[in-house]
Every structure is written in structure tokens, then in C-alpha cells.
């Protein structure tokens, strides 16, 4: 079989299987634990306004950024209280899905 050089070691229940990966398996992304201190864009969109500044204290549920997506203005907020550490985007930026927007200290 001419596939031999493409085989991967596929480890399952203490056995290394020799096998080919599927396309989907290769595309699979490592899972990351949700981090309440990071605010990501849940959908792609346009940053219309940023309502906070660096080092500003924010409360849980307080709108920190306005994101236009699906023809709606989405008010994004943190699920915890905290202080703004970094703002990764600016007004007018187009952001993609899961892009990191703002981080808390």
C-alpha cells in the first residue's frame, strides 16, 4: 500500500494504532477551557463603539463594547466584575468569530 508514509500513530486505550487520519480529524481544534476574563466575539461583526478604557473597573453585565452583527447591535459584557487589562480592538474594526476583544486583569 502506498499510504505507508502517511500513517499516524493513533493512541487509544493504551494501544498505538497505525492508521490514516481523516480530513476532519486533522482539522480538529484543541479545546480551551472558557476563561471569564477574556471577551471574544461570538459572531463576526463590526466594532461600533468601545465604552471602556484601560484600567477602568467594570461590573458583571455592564456593556463594554457594541458589536454590529446580523444587522443588530450586540451589547457585549463580562460575566464577572474586574478591571480592564487590554483592549485588543478599536472602533471600526471588523472582527472574526472567536476573536479576542477585551481582557480583564
Amino acid at each position: 500500500m502506498d499510504n505507508k508514509d502517511k500513517y499516524i500513530k493513533f493512541h487509544l486505550h493504551d494501544v498505538d494504532y497505525e492508521t490514516l487520519p481523516t480530513k476532519k480529524y486533522l482539522q480538529h481544534k484543541e479545546w480551551e477551557a472558557p476563561n471569564d476574563k477574556k471577551l471574544n466575539a461570538q459572531i463576526p461583526g463590526l466594532v461600533i463603539d468601545i465604552l471602556v478604557k484601560k484600567n477602568q473597573k467594570v461590573k458583571e453585565g455592564e456593556t463594554v463594547i457594541l458589536l454590529e452583527a446580523m444587522k443588530m447591535n450586540n451589547m457585549l459584557s463580562f460575566v464577572i466584575d474586574g478591571t480592564i487589562k487590554v483592549i485588543h480592538v478599536k472602533k471600526g474594526d471588523k472582527v472574526s468569530k472567536n476573536q479576542l476583544l477585551i481582557e480583564l486583569k
Partner: protein, 514 residues
């Protein structure tokens, strides 16, 4: 006026209508690398067998100056014909007429031929090439789609339904193919999606081409929406003709029994399958070793390759194969492969095609994405489909059959009629390594030489459990067979079970996990 003259008039009228959208539109269709609707029907069906219906149907739309427009055949050709000498009903949307857009009469032509297929109990083939709803006809056009979907569902499991995507098929239109049994796509020609690139761009800002969003490759490799992929329309028609050879006309009939030719000698299990169950091989070669003339028609070849499904013949009888593929991901069950197997089992069961399962899997694919994608829900479909199926179910365990995967893959417990195992079979809760590490954890940890102890215990477990004889000792496996006699054993099992009859418990219908 004489009959001759009247007939001449008819022929003239017919010729004009059969031109469809006219020269310019046909030229445009050709430039897109597509055949016309009429050419498609002629190439697919037996030569000269097509009988057209409703050539003179006209639309009744009045708004937007539609009353001044003549749309030949209202953008769709319908009729009956034969493939491999057997009757079928067919429609082909004509993109040269108003972009193949679906208006009320267009839909009525389709539903009329579908009703005909249902009454005559013969397969229905739909060739899709349409810009979508005819906007000028408003809700009437939507009603048309709804009527088609309802019929797709009504005849599901009564007659085989085949969809061929030879052009755009977007928005609501995609749901008719999705409700049918087999979807055929052609590279660079087929385009299927719910919302197109333009809408995605305006709403989400994501830029993508039609081909990357919903082209033939995407639906064959990623979404699993398509069952057969071809490089050209003509290759696609050959695939349709081959598929129909394995299917009966309807659920009350059986597929034809055709002349038997022995498989090729080169597909000998001894040459194909390594005894070490961590080593890969192509299970399709094992299938080719048992089917007539080594001819195997694989379904969904490019999607969820860790599970192989498809049709073959044994002793002239059409059978459906479901097999783990050790060549890909060691043959594990996962979300997609479960979906793939479950739907195929239900198709075979509906149309009296016996199911042969070949088992060689280490279990389920671990991973957060699998769990979060609902591998529980999808995996349950396999159990449901096997348990529910009443056609003859024959299972051959080739090598490993571990844990839940053993139960799911057509086991005795889900009422397989025959369960055979090769001497290389390992039927156990898990492989020797994993099992020894759990059962003898303490001994291994406390040993002077833990590695030597581990090896010894793995070997002990392997000898005791990694074989077919424990399961055979309980009667869960009916017979341990010589790999080389597999075809012979399958022929026998099919012969014995040809009049299998099972009465379902009385109920309206079950609730499968979908």
C-alpha cells in the same frame, strides 16, 4: 385538415417547445460546462425510452408583466423512461428557461410526476438546476416547494428517491434532495447551500466562493450531504445507473438476482488482513473478496472514511455492507461515521436489502469535540437502526470488537441473525493493554520490574480474552469460521434467511434519536 397535417402541426409545436430557453440560453448553459436538461435525460435513460409529460404546461402568473412571457415547459421537463430496462420517473429543471426558477406550475409538474411514481411504485429521479423560487410568483412558489417536500417524505421508504445536483440548488430548494435517499454531485457543476456567499458576506463579513461554500467536494468530504461524487455529468449518470442495479423498484419488491461471477482471487483475507490488530488494512479489499466479480459500489466514499458503506452482490443477491475501516482512524465510531452507517442501514432495511456487517473497531473516538458534538446522540442512531432493521442481518467479526463498539456493530444482542467470527477476532470490553493496566494495576505497580509484569499480564489477558472463543462459548458468536470460507458462509446465510419474516410490535412509529 388531414391527420397528417394536424400531426405536422404538433411536431412543429413540440419542436419549438423542446428548444427550451432558446439558442442563446443554451449557449450560456454550455459555456458553464453544463449539458441541457434534455441532454441530461437522454444521456441518463435507456436510449429512446423517454416519454415526456406536460410539455405544453403554461404558468398563470400575472404580476410583473409575467402574463406576456412564455416559459417553455415552465422551466422543467418531466416524464417516464427506463434505466437498465426498468421503469423510472424523472424530472429535470431547465436552467435555460427563466433560470430554472420554480413557479407554481413548474412545481405542479414535479408533484404530478412524483404522484405518478408513487402510484406506479417506481423510482423517482430529480435533476436539480435552478436559481430558486420564481420571485414574481411569490408565495405560490413557496407553496410549490412545500408540496414537493411533503411528497418526498410521503414516498420515503416506498420508492427509491434519487437527487442529482447539476447546477445551483440553494435556499429552501436544498431540502428536497436532503429528504431523498441518494444525492449525486458533479465537480464544478453542483452548488448547494442554504444562504449563499453574498448573504454571508453582508451579514457576517465572511468572504467565501460558491465552490468552497457548497461545491461538490465540500458536500462529499465535509458535510456528508452528497453520496456520490463525479468529475463529469456523464460519469455521474454511469454512477446512477450502477446504483439502480442494486435497488428494487419499491419496498414490496426485491432487487433482481443476476448472474454470479466469482470474486478475484487476489482479494484473499490472508493476504489483506494483518493479525496484529493495531496494523491497518483496507476493509474494502475484504469486501471485494466476498462479493460477486469483486464489484463493490461504495457510498459516501470521501466522508467519514472510518466507516465503509456500499452495495455489492453475493450469489447474485444485492446486499448492503457496513464495515469499520481500520485504514482510517483505526476504524473508530464517531459522530459522522455513526450517522453514515445508521442512515444506510435504514435504507437497506426499507428496501429489502440484507445487511452484512464487518467488524474491526477499537471503540469510539475520544475527544472534547466528539462529546460536545453529541456522539452519544449520534452513536445511538446506530443502535436504533440495527435493532429496528428486520432484513437478514449477518455479521462477521474480523479482528477487534471492543466495548460499546462491539454491541453497536450488528451484534447478536441487537438481533443479528448470524454472527460469525474469524479466528483473529478479539471480542472483549477493551484491548489487552488497556484491560491489563486496569485489572492488574496493583500487581504492576508493586512488581520489582513493572514493565516485565505489565507485559506478562497483557499476554495473560490476551490469551484468555482476546479471541472469539469466549463469545462463542456463550453463543453470542454462532460460528468461528476460516477467513477463506467467508464468501461461502455468507452465501449460505443469505440463502437460509431469504424468507425471514419478523412482525413488528404494534405501534404508530418509533422515535429514533434524530
Amino acid at each position: 385538415m388531414s391527420i397528417k397535417k394536424k400531426t405536422k402541426e404538433l411536431l412543429k409545436l413540440r419542436e419549438k417547445m423542446q428548444e427550451g430557453g432558446g439558442e442563446k440560453a443554451i449557449e450560456k448553459q454550455k459555456k458553464m460546462g453544463k449539458l441541457t436538461a434534455r441532454e441530461r435525460i437522454e444521456s441518463l435513460l435507456d436510449e429512446g425510452s423517454f416519454q415526456e409529460y406536460d410539455l405544453f404546461v403554461e404558468h398563470e402568473a400575472r404580476d410583473f408583466d409575467m402574463d406576456k412571457k412564455i416559459l417553455p415547459g415552465d422551466g422543467v421537463i418531466t416524464g417516464t423512461g427506463t434505466i437498465n430496462g426498468k421503469p423510472i420517473c424523472i424530472y429535470a429543471q431547465d436552467f435555460t428557461v427563466a433560470g430554472g426558477s420554480l413557479g407554481y406550475m413548474h412545481a405542479r409538474k414535479i408533484t404530478k410526476i412524483m404522484d405518478h411514481a408513487m402510484r406506479m411504485r417506481i423510482p423517482m429521479i430529480g435533476i436539480n438546476d435552478s436559481g430558486g423560487a420564481r420571485i414574481q410568483e411569490g408565495v405560490n412558489s413557496l407553496a410549490g416547494y412545500g408540496e414537493i417536500f411533503w411528497r418526498n417524505t410521503l414516498v420515503s421508504g416506498v420508492i427509491p428517491q434519487i437527487s442529482v445536483i447539476l447546477g445551483p440548488c440553494a435556499g429552501g430548494a436544498v431540502y428536497s434532495p436532503a429528504l431523498t435517499d441518494f444525492v449525486f454531485v458533479v465537480d464544478n457543476v453542483s452548488k448547494m447551500f442554504i444562504t449563499g456567499p453574498e448573504v454571508i458576506k453582508t451579514v457576517l463579513g465572511e468572504e467565501i466562493s460558491m465552490e468552497d461554500l457548497g461545491g461538490a467536494k465540500v458536500h462529499s468530504e465535509i458535510t456528508g450531504n452528497a453520496h456520490f461524487y463525479a468529475e463529469s455529468e456523464l460519469e455521474c449518470f454511469v454512477q446512477i445507473r450502477s446504483l439502480l442495479e442494486y435497488l428494487p423498484l419499491n419496498y414490496q419488491k426485491r432487487p433482481d438476482i443476476i448472474d454470479v461471477k466469482e470474486p478475484y482471487k487476489k482479494y484473499s483475507p490472508e493476504k489483506i488482513v494483518p493479525v496484529d490488530s493495531s496494523k491497518p488494512y483496507d476493509v474494502r479489499e475484504v469486501i471485494k473478496g466476498v462479493v460477486d466479480h469483486s464489484k463493490f459500489l461504495e457510498v459516501q466514499e470521501m466522508w467519514a472514511q472510518n466507516m465503509v458503506i456500499g452495495f455489492g452482490r453475493i450469489d447474485g443477491r444485492s446486499v448492503g455492507f457496513i464495515a469499520n475501516q481500520p485504514m482510517y482512524l483505526a476504524g473508530v465510531l464517531d459522530v459522522d461515521s455513526s450517522d453514515k452507517a445508521a442512515r444506510f442501514i435504514r435504507f437497506c432495511d426499507a428496501f429489502n436489502i440484507p445487511i452484512i456487517t464487518m467488524v474491526d473497531l477499537p471503540g469510539y473516538l475520544p475527544g472534547v469535540d466528539q462529546e460536545h458534538a453529541g456522539v452519544i446522540r449520534h452513536g445511538a442512531k446506530v443502535l436504533y437502526a440495527y435493532s429496528e432493521a428486520t432484513v437478514p442481518k449477518i455479521t462477521v467479526i474480523l479482528r477487534k470488537a471492543y466495548g460499546g463498539g462491539y454491541i453497536a456493530m450488528g451484534s447478536r444482542h441487537l438481533r443479528a441473525d448470524f454472527v460469525y467470527a474469524w479466528p483473529t477476532a478479539e471480542i472483549a470490553v477493551m484491548g489487552p493493554q488497556g484491560a491489563a493496566n486496569i485489572i492488574f494495576r496493583k500487581e504492576i505497580a508493586e512488581a520489582e520490574d513493572p514493565e516485565a509484569m505489565r507485559e506478562q499480564k497483557v499476554e495473560e489477558y490476551r490469551k484468555r480474552f482476546a479471541n472469539p472463543y469466549v463469545a462463542a462459548g456463550k453463543g453470542y458468536v454462532d460460528a468461528v469460521i476460516e477467513p477463506e470460507e467467508t464468501r461461502h458462509v455468507l452465501m449460505h446465510a443469505l440463502e437460509v434467511s431469504k424468507d425471514k419474516a419478523i412482525r413488528h410490535m404494534d405501534k404508530k412509529h418509533g422515535i429514533p434519536p434524530f
